[in-house]
C-alpha cells in the first residue's frame, strides 16, 4: 500500500488549503489584486480540467478548446447586453450553447485523426473568433462590456469579490469531482481504451466515435461554464478570449500539471499563471524565460509536475 504521506499528497493538500484560505489572507492584507489574480487562475484551472478530460483521458488533442470559453462568455455578454440579467437563464444558455457547439465541431473533427484533428479544431476555433470579431452589434473586435454581473437569488452576489471567488472555487472542485467520477466509470474506461488503442476497442465491440463525441461535448460544456465565469470576472468579453494562443495556454496547463491526473491541470494552471505574473513583473522579456522553462518540464518531466512528484515519492520509498 502507498504510504499516506507523500510529496504528491502534501502538495495537493497544501494547494487546496492555500486556495481555500486565500481570501482570508487577501482580506487581512488588503491585497485585492491577489484575489483578482487567483479568481482568474481558478477559472482557467476549471477550463484546464475540462480540457484534461478530453486530452488527458480521451487522447483528443484539441487545439481549439478556448472557443468554448468564448461561447460561454458571449452567451452571458450578449444576454446581458439584451437586458437578460438572470443567471438562471444566462448560465444554462451558456452551457447549452457550448454543448451544441461542441456537438457540431466534435461530430465533424472526430472523423479525423492526429495532426488533422489538431488542425481542424484549431480552424473551427479561429472561425468562431473571426465570427465574433465581426459582430458589430456586440462590439466586434473591441468586445462587449458587461455592466451587470449575472443575477441570482438573494444571498448570492457575484459582485462581491470574495463570494465570487468561492463560487468559482466550488465549481472547480465540483468539476474535478465530476471528472474523477466520469473517468472511473464505464464511460471513462471506454474513452481511455479509445485513447490507448482505438482499433482494438472497435474490434472488441465499442463504437468508439460515439464515446469520444460525448466526451468532447462534456469537455466543451464544462469549458463553457468557465467562459461564463470569466465574462463575469472581467465584466467584459472580447474575441481575444478564444484566440488560438489561449487554447495553447490551456494545453500547456494540462501538460505542465500532468495529463490524465485529477488534480494535475490545477497545478498546471497555478504554476503557469503565477510564473507568468511573477516573470512579467521582473522583465518585459519574460516569455524568453518561460518558454525554455516549459520546454524543460516537457522534456525531463514526463507526466508533468504531478508525475515529477509521484516519481519523487517512489524514489523516497525505495
Amino acid at each position: 500500500m502507498r504510504p499516506a504521506l507523500n510529496f504528491r499528497t502534501i502538495v495537493t493538500v497544501v494547494l487546496i488549503a492555500a486556495l481555500v484560505l486565500l481570501p482570508l489572507y487577501t482580506g487581512l492584507s488588503g491585497n485585492r489584486f491577489l484575489l483578482t489574480l487567483f479568481t482568474r487562475i481558478v477559472i482557467m484551472a476549471l477550463a484546464a480540467v475540462s480540457l484534461n478530460l478530453m486530452l488527458g483521458y480521451g487522447g483528443m488533442m484539441s487545439f481549439g478548446h478556448a472557443a468554448y470559453l468564448g461561447i460561454g462568455g458571449y452567451a452571458v455578454g450578449i444576454l446581458a447586453h439584451e437586458g437578460v440579467l438572470n443567471g438562471f437563464v444566462q448560465w444554462p444558455v451558456a452551457l447549452a450553447a457550448s454543448a451544441l457547439f461542441a456537438l457540431v465541431i466534435g461530430a465533424l473533427s472526430l472523423r479525423t485523426r492526429g495532426v488533422y484533428f489538431i488542425m481542424i479544431t484549431l480552424a473551427f476555433a479561429q472561425m468562431t473568433y473571426y465570427t465574433f470579431a465581426g459582430l458589430a452589434r456586440y462590439g466586434g473586435d473591441d468586445g462587449l462590456t458587461i455592466y451587470k454581473r449575472s443575477q441570482f437569488v438573494a444571498p448570492i452576489d457575484l459582485s462581491n469579490k470574495t463570494q465570487f471567488y468561492y463560487i468559482c472555487l466550488a465549481l472547480l472542485f465540483g468539476a474535478i469531482y465530476l471528472v474523477w467520477r466520469l473517468t472511473n466509470s464505464r464511460f471513462g474506461m471506454a474513452i481511455q481504451g479509445a485513447r490507448s488503442n482505438d482499433i482494438r476497442m472497435r474490434a472488441i465491440g465499442f463504437p468508439t466515435y460515439r464515446y469520444r463525441l460525448v466526451c468532447f461535448v462534456i469537455a466543451g460544456t464544462l469549458c463553457g461554464l468557465a467562459g461564463a465565469l470569466l465574462a463575469n470576472q472581467n465584466d467584459f468579453v472580447s474575441p481575444s478570449i478564444m484566440y488560438w494562443t489561449r487554447s495553447g495556454d490551456l494545453i500547456i496547463m494540462v501538460v505542465l500539471g500532468g495529463m490524465a491526473t485529477p488534480f494535475g491541470p490545477v497545478i498546471g494552471a497555478v504554476a503557469l499563471l503565477v510564473l507568468e505574473e511573477a516573470l512579467s513583473g521582473i522583465t518585459e522579456y519574460w516569455q524568453i524565460i518561460l518558454g525554455p522553462l516549459l520546454l524543460l518540464v516537457v522534456l525531463f518531466a514526463r507526466g508533468g509536475i504531478d508525475g515529477l512528484l509521484a516519481r519523487a515519492d517512489s524514489k523516497v520509498r525505495s
Partner: protein, 254 residues
Amino acid sequence: MSGPAILQVENLAKRFGGIVATDDLSLEIAAGELHAVIGPNGAGKTTLIAQLSGQLTPDSGRIHFSGADITTLPMYRRSRLGLARSFQITSLFLDLSVLDNVALAVQAHAGHSFRFWRDARREPALRDPARAVLVRAGLSERADQPASALSHGEHRQLELAMALASAPRMLLLDEPMAGLGPEESSAMVTMLRALKGKVTILLVEHDMEAVFALADRITVLVYGRVIASGTPDDIRANAAVREAYLGESEGAHV
C-alpha cells in the same frame, strides 16, 4: 464435422494498388469446426481476417455470418454478433492493467457504456468474468500489472484472452503462436485444444505441427487465392500444396 456453415465467404476480392491480396476467395466454415488457413508470407491471410472482422472493406464479394450478410457491417457490430479476433501484431491497451484489458472486452458486451458514475473497476459484473478468463489464460497472477510489463509470450496469451472475454461464437486467430518459444507454443496448443468444439475457430498459423494437430479442415492460400481446401490428410497428400507451399523441408515433418 460438417454442421451448417456459420461463416460463408463468396468471391471475396481485395487489391492494394497493383497487389491482389485477396483473389476471388470463397470459403465455408462449419459451426464448431477448427479451420486453419495457411499460406506463405504475404499470401493474404491477415488481409482475409481484416475483411472478416470489418477492419477492411472488400472490393467485391460477400460475407455471411450465421445467416446475416455482414459485408458492410462496422467492426464493433460484428464483434457484437459474436465474431471475435486476435491480432498477429499484439494489439493491447498497454497503459492499462492486464485485468482492465480483459474487463474492457467484457464491458463491450455488457450493454452500452454511457454509464457515467459508478466505479467500473468495482463492478463484479465486469471484474469477475474478466478474472475467470485470466485464470483460463494462465495470467491471473499478472492481473494487476500494467499490460506493458508482460513478456512477449504473456502478451500473446492476453491477446487471446481478450478475444475470449466476450464469449464469442467464432474466433478469428491471426498467428497466436507468433514468436513463442517451444514451451509457450505447446501451452497455446493446449489452450486451443480446450476451446476446440466449444467455439468455431479460424486459425491462421505458420506452425505446421500445431496446425496439423489441431485442424479439422485446412485451406491453403497462395497469392490471395485458395489453392486447396480439405482435411489435414487431403492437404498433406495434395501435390499442388507440397509444391507451392510446404516444400520438401517443411513437408518432411508434416
